[in-house]
Symmetry: C2
Subunit: 420 residues, 2 copies
């Protein structure tokens, strides 16, 4: 058996070796960095990690590709645990309305908002859906993301929701990236059920969820638990139905209002509670107690021109394990975990080390993949990012550009920066 | 004479044709877009602009390279009118201090702040200075910037200030980009003049400025007019001395405190007043009356974790012509005019059209280059950016990535996106 790949002389090899679970509090600051570090890969799996001299001695002989990472930082591939990857169309026209101070209702009146995307997505052919989503996915991979959660939620009816999940699966088959599909039928109430939210909840539970489960189209079920969308009782009903079908759970919790979403996530045993801009103190304590991952999405207030960022600092200090995600969607066209990390440090008072943990091992835990990816340790998948910076602290500091020089998925280089 | 280059079928050809001067108020919203647009280039100069069918008829025959810009947007190359491009070292360690709420003085005590960079820069060899600055410049060009202002200001003594300006010139000679050098000796008071600001002002005027002028090393002179740095009288003295030597003027004005910097800029006939987070109403009116360009730098409050963005919306509405710049420096490692545009729309309430004007023709006017670059018009230099978006409104909307598919300088492609 020959080694496939050897990366050597990393200025910082950020291994994040440690407990195989969501990390909280001070654990989030411990990156377990090896200076002048090296990693050996064979058969798509990490087989050795250490200082360059010792790894070279063991694995440097024979026909192995050696990559020199001098002055560079090597991280586990980014895991993006919250995206709405699959949709059609765009809503760039809303940006000027938001800049002019128009509110949510006025944007709806101008033909914007989520139902605009539902309409565009329902009308799009499967080919168009795939093509538009693939373009986003290519950008995400080139920015170092090697695992992507992808939610449905712009079809809302049975046919198109299933199509979105099928498209997510196909993207995972055709691109060098792991896709984790999530059913989010409870993203909004579709026009045909307007004023009949309970009827739509019943429809999802009786008509859609069983088919999703039967065809194994989604690993997770998620619900947009929010004032005026799905209340706690409606959300619970959908989540418990999904759980009984064997699906894992996520909750869009306490994004715009404090609705008890965090408490619900803890109650139903969700893997993650996402957004958390306005959780109650009880909700925060419930998440910490049950080790529910808080997935923070700083791109969302940025694109919404809001100042209401989740208080990452406080959540970490209170013991909630925290992950970061892009929340890529037509209202938040954010493809980059690097920019997400920069926002987390600049707007949520997270440190660079915490933001790195939140984008790798904790994000993997938010998808139930922390035993497979998210750290640079023997036996894990060789999903790696080589960044053209001498240390991880440069990652949020040098913002707005792509710092990747190489992206490795399952031991293979899938993107590489061209020389200038 | 053969045509060098023909770009055709641009979804939006954003020409910005119009008055050859700084644009204010409603003029900033008029991008003069041609749909299905084309531009013909010969000898590095734009020779025709119009709809694809008519430009193709005139210029499509013969041995011409044709670039298909279907579904893409073509803009004038970005002009970055405010950067501190040339320095050595980095200050990434300050980010965590800022995230932990440490103030300016505490960061100084931890060995940070501007004098840290002065020390690093004085110690760096000319080769190191060139190499570190060149890496930033390559990133800027690959993000669509074709003209870059570059200030000195991290040497402060005579030898190193001249070295910084020589380095800027050399970068312009060796890279496909126009560099506009600015002498900013009045960036800080160096340690050897601590407590003797007037003495340092005299030193600059008698020892450095004459040499800068004689060797033609700077087109502009700039001053950091700020409470506790250089007051209005000291700033005026430096600026008038530079003016008498034939240099054009800029002022770092009213960034942290309302010090009368905007009024001073108008009084001395500066081409631009930069930052403007806290100008007085009198200062704003003086800028509008004298057509002094306001150069706004939204990367600075972003990197400083401040909420004090300049009020771009109000300044535009009051008639100050507005340009945007990155303010690239060790405290604000911002190489991308694209991200700067996104910040301007999200944080300063500027519209996408205003931000595009502010990054092209108005930024050119901030450097006195509005007759040569900044629009797509016959006779102008063929500095062009092809963006992989169907319209300019997508530019701030799709944030945190590089949207360029091609960068053209003087008619030649100098950067091109690799296919995934």
């Amino acid at each position: 058996m020959t080694d496939d790949l050897l990366i050597v002389h990393a200025s910082e090899l950020v291994t994040l070796r440690g407990p195989r679970r969501a990390r909280a509090k001070a654990e989030m600051s411990d990156l377990a960095i090896i200076r002048d570090g090296a990693v050996a890969v064979s058969g798509g799996v990490i087989v050795d990690v250490g200082r360059t001299d010792s790894v070279l001695k063991e694995h440097g002989a024979g026909d192995v590709e050696i990559i020199d990472a001098t002055d560079k930082t090597v991280l586990p591939g980014f895991v993006d645990p919250h995206t709405h990857l699959v949709y059609a169309g765009s809503r760039e026209f809303e940006l000027e309305l938001k800049a002019r101070g128009k509110g949510y209702l006025e944007i709806l009146q101008e033909g914007g908002g989520i139902l605009r995307t539902v309409s565009d997505t329902r009308l799009a052919s499967p080919g168009t859906l795939f093509k538009e989503s693939a373009k986003r996915l290519e950008s995400m991979i080139s920015h170092g993301t090697t695992t992507v959660e992808a939610k449905s939620g712009y079809g809302l009816d049975r046919t198109v929701e299933l199509r979105l999940l099928e498209t997510a699966r196909k993207l995972g088959d055709e691109y060098p990236v792991t896709i984790v599909p999530t059913y989010l039928g409870a993203h909004a109430v579709p026009p045909e059920f307007a004023g009949r939210t309970d009827g739509y909840v019943d429809f999802m539970i009786s008509e859609v969820l069983p088919e999703v489960a039967k065809r194994n189209l989604a690993e997770f079920c998620d619900v947009f638990c929010e004032k005026g969308v799905f209340d706690v009782d409606q959300s619970r009903k959908v989540l418990l139905a999904a759980k009984s079908l064997g699906m894992k759970l996520k909750v869009h919790a306490d994004e715009m209002h404090s609705t008890g979403g965090a408490e619900l996530a803890a109650e139903v045993g969700a893997v993650s509670a996402d957004h958390l801009a306005r959780p109650s103190d009880d909700g925060i304590m419930a998440l910490a107690r049950k080790d529910v991952m808080g997935v923070l999405l700083p791109g969302t207030p940025y694109s919404s021109m809001s100042k209401e960022y989740a208080d990452g600092r406080r959540l970490i200090d209170l013991g909630v394990p925290i992950a970061l995600g892009t929340d890529l969607n037509p209202n938040c066209w954010n493809e980059s975990m690097q920019f997400t990390i920069s926002l987390a440090c600049h707007k949520m008072r997270m440190t660079p080390a915490e933001a790195v943990t939140a984008s790798t091992i904790n994000a993997a835990a938010a998808l139930g993949l922390d035993k497979k990816v998210g750290t640079i340790e023997r036996g894990k998948r060789a999903d790696l990012v080589v960044l053209d910076i001498p240390g991880h602290a440069h990652l949020p500091y040098k913002f707005g550009t792509n710092l990747c020089s190489r992206v490795v998925k399952d031991g293979k280089t899938v993107w590489e920066r061209q020389p200038f």
